[in-house]
């Protein structure tokens, strides 16, 4: 889905709309947005990228976790305008050409979910956790994944999945 703002929609002083160009999963999208629109709502409602979930919409649950310039952040407390010029990666962008990301495969193998609602956020967090070098032990995984809540309580399997993905677990990590 592509939503292109027209030429005349330049920013005027006093306006509460803004033309915003977002770089999502390597593609560039230009949108005309109400300034209140969060990155989360822009992704879901304007770009149709509904993999990123809205749980609390207030920074408490982690369901909306995405990467901005490689760092995990909460899309619900980021204005779309703030994300301009940054490389945004969502769950739709983590898989490689040769299939799911090792963390995605590990979540499937370990049944790291029940209803699946928190899963995209968990996976985005876990991918970042590995890059941060914080998947050294179960204790470390639990601490540094604590910003992602799971209402179904799938935590033991989530930790097992992250542990396996982090240890290579027979997968070819491609990050």
């Amino acid at each position: 889905m592509r939503d292109v703002a027209s030429e005349r929609d330049v920013d005027r002083p006093g306006t509460t709309e803004r033309v915003v160009t977002l770089d999502v999963n390597g593609r560039s999208y230009t949108l005309r947005l109400d300034t209140r629109v969060t990155l989360l709502d822009a992704l879901r409602d304007r770009l149709g990228l509904t993999g990123t979930k809205k749980g609390c919409d207030q920074g408490a649950c982690g369901a909306c976790t995405v990467h901005l310039d490689g760092r995990r952040v909460l899309a619900c407390l980021t204005l779309a305008a703030q994300a301009e010029g940054r490389a945004i990666t969502t769950i739709e962008g983590v898989a490689g050409t040769e299939g799911p990301h090792p963390v995605q495969r590990a979540f499937m193998d370990h049944d790291g979910f029940q209803c699946g609602f928190c899963t995209p956020g968990q996976i985005m967090s876990a991918v970042a956790l590995m890059a941060e070098g914080r998947a050294g032990s179960d204790e470390e995984i639990r601490e540094f994944m604590s910003g992602n809540l799971c209402r179904c309580g799938a935590y033991p399997n989530i930790v097992a999945a992250v542990r396996e993905a982090a240890s290579g677990g027979g997968y070819d990590a491609h990050l």
Partner: protein, 329 residues
């Protein structure tokens, strides 16, 4: 959320000028307090100035102090090598706060300026809140208080300042660098905050048309040991019920220097001078630590929901003094 104009700033002095011209404009840093409260309808600025692209991100050691740009993130500061080596109390306070996602967004300036988590303050449907609407009363005093303060409070407001970092920084005598229309000034963090019993609505001495540009942290002597203990309802990702920031220099069993901050208890990050007074020059023993903790919390003003904090804060301090000194006997 009310509509607002979004302005992306690139020049610090320009932001100060915009703020001076518009008394209702607000700044947006990491947004983890600002946007949260705008969603709740507590804050409704017609203009939001995004300051995240100002050149205030650097973390630099100059001699025996660390200069931290106001827009450095909590994760960036926690990862700094000087912080790891010389300021364990800062590193621990940072890493025990919020979650990695929030720490990647939240800035050091924003952290010091975060607003209280009081649920009555955060809910505009509640009419009694002297902080939001001066003169209306305090719903928390009669209501369900738990995550509230017991020092620097009275029946007019018991809102807690919930920053962990600020507790470590008051103990370290950090200094806030501020830029205003007429230039720069510096304020010691211990003099930066205003307590709720003085004025519920005004929380610090920052003027509307002023920006925090930097936080300067003097490094404790290389022989100092430090740490932060946070006691909470959940193991991780939760605000403090009580916390203690401790910096000690111990020589031959005698405490030469002591700096103590207490969290989860004050309407501002609390510096426990009375505990330091007991500790300094005394033998590093559990008996001394006990005496020091007894000296704190004497001015506590509690309601039934917060009375537990007085003994808990004292025990938290004793435990952290033991951990930092390595003396448990």
């Amino acid at each position: 959320m009310r509509t607002f104009e979004y302005v992306r700033a690139t020049d610090t002095q320009e932001v100060v000028r915009m703020l001076a011209e518009d008394p209702s404009a607000s700044c947006l840093a990491g947004g983890t307090t600002q946007l949260d409260l705008m969603k709740d309808g507590v804050l409704e600025p017609p203009t939001l100035i995004d300051i995240t692209r100002l050149p205030l991100h650097g973390i630099e050691r100059r001699g025996e102090s660390l200069h931290v740009g106001a827009l450095a993130t909590m994760e960036e500061l926690a990862a700094d090598s000087t912080v790891a080596e010389r300021l364990p109390v800062v590193r621990e306070a940072l890493l025990l706060g919020a979650s990695v996602q929030l720490r990647n967004m939240a800035t050091i300036g924003g952290n010091l300026l975060q607003r209280t988590r009081c649920r009555y303050f955060r809910d505009p449907a509640v009419l009694e809140c002297n902080k939001r609407a001066p003169g209306t009363g305090c719903a928390a005093v009669q209501g369900a208080a738990r995550m509230h303060a017991v020092l620097g409070v009275n029946e007019n407001c018991i809102a807690l300042h919930a920053s962990d970092l600020a507790v470590a920084l008051v103990a370290l005598d950090a200094v806030v660098h501020i830029q205003g229309l007429s230039g720069r000034r510096t304020v010691p963090l211990t003099e930066f905050y205003v307590t709720a019993d003085e004025s519920p609505e005004r929380e610090n001495v920052l003027e509307h048309a002023e920006l925090i540009t930097e936080v300067e942290i003097p490094l404790p002597p290389p022989s100092a040991r430090s740490g932060y203990l946070k006691v909470r309802d959940r193991v991780s990702y939760e605000f403090a019920l009580t916390s203690a920031a401790v910096v000690l220099v111990v020589e031959d069993g005698t405490i030469r220097q002591a700096r103590v901050g207490l969290g989860g208890v004050g309407s501002k990050p609390w510096r426990a001078y009375e505990a330091e007074h007991v500790l300094t020059g005394a033998p590093a023993t559990s008996a001394t630590f006990q005496d020091a903790s007894e000296a704190t919390m004497r001015d506590a003003w509690t309601v039934p929901g917060t009375a537990f904090k007085v003994p808990l804060a004292r025990r938290t301090l004793v435990r952290e003094l033991q951990t930092v000194s390595g003396v448990t006997a």
